[in-house]
């Protein structure tokens, strides 16, 4: 191979990271995830990055190779980053050229082709090699490992032309290889050294259930089988076991395990044990050289599962970007097997280690169910599940949090729904056991039976199709997880993994569109639709409101709001009710009102025959059943008493709920009411991706329920705790702590910055709770708390946008604006 390029010395001027050269050895999952994480850091983007990959491909999801083998996925579906991605991020990718030497003195790496590249920082991510037993016959044609695309190609070729396969190794990888080959039509035998399968992840009972199930699916097992030799003269013909048994084969797949690929690091004189030794900061014994992934050893542990690799990548990227505080710590891990219809979960201890430990077991042989949990000192330390793994993530979470589970001990093994005493916990839902009349979508009144029936009869395979046909999850979307669960339950493996595009008019997703609006200066909906090749020239009812919001947010004062792209509520500034009348909720700042305001509300209710007056959950008063034609006059009367729009109809700031605080309450620590009023005066009128609710509680008793709001403030003696991302709706979510500050001014500044970040980066119709769940609270903290300059910039952008947003829409309409919205057309004459 002959790749030539110039080693440029055109260092950019500026900070210490500018122009630093990072060389990555290994184009696999751990190395490239580290690069992806690095690009998220401002300082990380300044690196000049070269990536070496020994394989001739771009980087792909190695875990999914078994799905490719089994025919569940195509090769191009497991590609993680395309060549365009490397180019777009200015990364030089060298594929098919393995690095052969690291020179730590000269700080260079040299590849097979002779290519020599200098580095300032080096990242070793060479992964692992398949373990090979020291037996004769390994070099024969027809023998392969199960490690990369080339191996899968060999196996698929054999499946096309040959009949019999033997897989050596009954662990995760061996079983998936055996199942894949079986799916491809080969007759498959599996040889395993130990008495039961997956003995490192499963106890004997679960291992036996697994063997029984796979045996029924036609895989022959040779357990307690030590391979002595691979037979054959020109080509593999079979496997000879030490106990005299022999198994004929045209293809032999070795999957007995992996070992860290340490050759390069060893030759370079780095400290090595089983793997390349790294510290908590992912540095090797040479501080300019980092290592991540299956090639490393951290505190005596080596890695074969993906979850800790992601944690390593994140910490390593932060270190590279200059954050010395980012450290890697390994957490409890879980395993699952990718064989369709065989559900296995395992985490932590497989069995009691001594008499102080307790095992609780549930076994139902007829249904093929097995569950075991292991307890130590009242805490969960292990779980093995077979047949029903829905509670796996819950057990793992209990193990990681280390919380005391004594109180739910008797119920623990039955799973979350039972232990919590609640039905319908989404992670633990058993759809087959759910009655058909169970209501799934509360908004649209759709039951399980209706959804399952539609999926089966109309052969639906995607969430959007189920939404289109049944309306389930088409409104508030909170039941999306359950609908997806039902889809998987009813349609099984046929479910399409579809990309979440903004709507069906485009293939682009929300983030791409938001970025382009700002980066390419797109200032009208037509410009956005043209730039992305919209399928419908005018868009649809989904994308029009989203684009209108994105443009309004990106270009305050410039973009002209398009009322024709607003949902009726936001167009007429009132909430449409099911009978076509409207509701009117005036703002009550921080929940405060006055006798004059109350009199005005009462007078309006009398004058316009408003049938229902209700106190809302947001400490305001709702007038329900107002006729559309009356709206401007109602607003005019309310306005005379100083009442303005409460935006209860909008994707906008709704309420700031408060308690009475130190002014009246004997427990109050700060003046929560007046702080609430200040927050509301600052934030009202702002359009947001979805509705936003705030609250301020005067003490940790939290009477204003601040911990289930989009942003809450809990006053304490020392100042103010700001918490974010809560939700009290269908899926209750408690807030994450953002920061504790000392003064009201800081509360206001952080609130502005948080709201602006949400305004700029969340997807349209995404509440703060799912947004934070998606981007992570650490990211929000980094932007709003840890970066003071960034916070001030967000704060300034929010206040700038408010200059154009804080107009009372009711007063404008009471004066006659948009009059056509509120009156019917007369019939003039018969013609």
């Amino acid at each position: 191979m002959n790749i030539s390029f110039r080693e440029s010395d055109d260092f950019l001027s500026g900070g210490e990271h500018d122009g630093l050269r990072l060389v990555v050895i290994g184009n696999g999952m751990a190395g490239m995830r580290t690069v992806e994480e690095l690009l998220k850091h401002e300082t990380g983007r300044r690196f000049r990055i070269t990536v070496f990959g020994a394989e001739p491909h771009v980087n792909y999801n190695r875990i999914m190779l078994s799905s490719v083998l089994a025919g569940d996925k195509a090769l191009d579906e497991i590609v993680i980053n395309s060549r365009d991605w490397y180019a777009a991020n200015g990364i030089r990718l060298v594929t098919g050229d393995a690095v052969t030497k690291i020179d730590r003195e000269a700080k260079t790496v040299t590849a097979e082709s002779g290519l020599c590249v200098s580095y300032d920082r080096l990242l070793i991510a060479t992964g692992s090699k398949p373990l090979a037993p020291p037996i004769p016959g390994l070099g024969l044609p027809g023998v392969c490992a199960f490690r990369d695309i080339a191996d899968v190609d060999k196996m698929l070729e054999a499946a096309r032309t040959k009949k019999r396969a033997v897989v050596i190794g009954g662990g995760l990888l061996g079983l998936e290889a055996a199942w894949g080959l079986k799916q491809r039509g080969m007759s498959v035998a599996l040889v395993h050294l130990m008495p039961t399968l997956m003995e490192r992840q499963l106890d004997a009972a679960a291992g036996q259930l697994l063997q029984r199930d796979l045996d029924r699916r036609g895989i022959a097992f040779f357990t307690n089988g030590q391979t002595e030799e691979i037979l054959g003269a020109e080509h593999a013909e079979g496997v000879q076991l030490a106990d005299g048994r022999s198994v004929p084969a045209d293809l032999v797949v070795l999957a007995i395990g992996i070992r860290p690929n340490i050759d390069l690091a060893k030759a370079a004189g780095l400290k090595i044990n089983r793997g390349i030794e790294v510290f908590d900061d992912l540095r090797t014994s040479d501080p300019d050289i980092f290592a991540v992934g299956e090639c490393v050893e951290h505190r005596g542990q080596v890695f074969g599962l993906v979850a800790p690799l992601w944690d390593q990548a994140k910490a390593c990227a932060a270190q590279l970007a200059g954050d010395g505080s980012a450290l890697f710590a390994s957490q409890a891990l879980s395993t699952s097997l990718k064989i369709t219809g065989v559900d296995v979960f395992s985490a932590g201890a497989l069995m009691a280690a001594d008499e102080a430990d307790d095992e609780i077991t549930l076994r139902d042989d007829a249904r093929g169910l097995y569950k075991k949990v292991v307890l130590r000192d009242g805490k969960l330390v292990g779980a093995v599940l077979y047949g029903d793994v829905a509670d796996g993530p819950w057990y793992l979470q209990l193990m990681r949090s280390g919380e005391d589970v004594s109180a739910i001990r008797e119920r623990l093994v039955f799973g979350r729904a039972f232990a919590d005493g609640i039905a319908g916990a989404s992670a633990a839902t058993d759809y087959s056991a759910m009655p058909d009349d169970t209501q799934i979508c509360g908004c649209n009144g759709v039951s399980k039976g209706t959804i399952v029936c539609a999926i089966r009869e109309k052969k639906l395979t995607s969430l959007s199709e189920v939404r289109a046909h049944t309306k389930a999850s088409a409104s508030c979307g909170q039941c999306t997880g359950q609908v997806e669960g039902l889809l998987a339950f009813a349609a099984g493996a046929e479910v399409k993994a579809s990309r979440k595009t903004l709507c069906e008019c485009t293939d682009a997703d929300h983030d791409e569109i938001r970025r382009a609006i700002v980066a390419d200066g797109l200032k009208t909906m037509d410009a956005v639709r043209a730039a992305f090749g919209w399928k419908k020239p005018e868009g649809c009812h989904k994308c029009r409101p989203a684009l209108n919001y994105y443009l309004l947010c990106a270009w305050p004062g410039e973009y002209r709001d398009d009322s024709r792209s607003r949902f009726v509520n936001e167009r007429v500034h009132a909430n449409i009710q099911k009978d076509g009348t409207y509701s009117v909720i005036p703002r009550m700042w921080g929940g405060l009102t006055t006798p004059d305001e109350l009199r005005a509300i009462a007078d309006v209710a009398d004058k316009f025959n408003i049938p229902t007056v209700k106190v809302t959950g947001g400490q305001r008063i709702d007038l329900l059943g107002v006729k559309k034609d009356d709206l401007p006059a109602v607003w005019g009367d309310l306005g005379k008493a100083g009442l303005v729009s409460g935006h209860a109809y909008g994707k906008a700031l709704r309420t700031v709920k408060t308690c009475v605080g130190s002014e009246w309450c004997r427990f109050g620590t700060q003046d929560s009411t007046s702080l609430g009023v200040k927050l509301e005066k600052m934030c009202w009128g702002s359009w947001t991706p979805h509705k936003v609710k705030l609250a301020v509680s005067g003490c940790p008793r939290n009477c204003a329920e601040a911990t289930i709001k989009d942003l809450g403030v809990v006053c304490v003696e020392a100042g103010y705790d700001i918490v974010v991302g809560g939700n009290g709706g269908v899926e209750v979510r408690v807030t994450d702590p953002l920061v504790r500050v000392a003064t009201e001014a800081e509360v206001l500044e952080h609130t502005c910055a948080f709201l602006q970040l949400y305004r700029e980066e969340a997807h349209y119709l995404e509440r703060t709770a799912p947004w934070i769940a998606r981007v992570g609270i650490a990211y929000v903290k980094q932007r709003v708390v840890e970066d003071p300059d960034g916070r001030l910039a967000l704060h300034a952008r929010f206040l700038y946008a408010q200059k154009f947003a804080q107009h009372d829409p009711w007063a404008e309409r009471a004066r006659g604006e948009d009059a056509h919205e509120f009156s019917r057309l007369p019939a003039l004459a018969e013609a």
């Binding site: 649209n444 109309k458 289109a468 046909h469 309306k471 088409a474 409104s475 419908k536 020239p537 005018e538 868009g539 649809c540 009812h541 029009r544 409101p545 024709r564 792209s565 607003r566 949902f567 009726v568 509520n569 167009r571 007429v572 449409i576 099911k578 076509g580 056509h820 019917r824 057309l825 007369p826 019939a827 003039l828 004459a829 018969e830 013609a831």
Partner: protein, 113 residues
Amino acid sequence: MDILWKNIGPLANIPMCGARRLCFGHGGRPIAVFRTAKDELFALIDECPHRQGPLSEGIIAGDAVTCPLHNWTIDLKDGVALAPDEGSTQALPVRVVNGEVHVGLPHAESVAA
């Protein structure tokens, strides 16, 4: 068919890409007149076939309107719901004469407001 044409006033009363509801009904039911971005006019009984939502309040894109209550999308040309929803609302003829909009009511059923 014997059609009774009702003059509902100047075209300018109906916003582009918008709709108005008439203050007289047809067979006791409300009527909506829509004006698309391409400046074409359509009239429908202002009731979504699903739960009788006011179509005149929906978002109009192309030749279709989406009901504000539950997001059914109705073809303005014939009042038929787009698949996979099933159902329809009655479409009425509409014309512009000297800059004024006339909606046609089938005579036998017409009801003056």
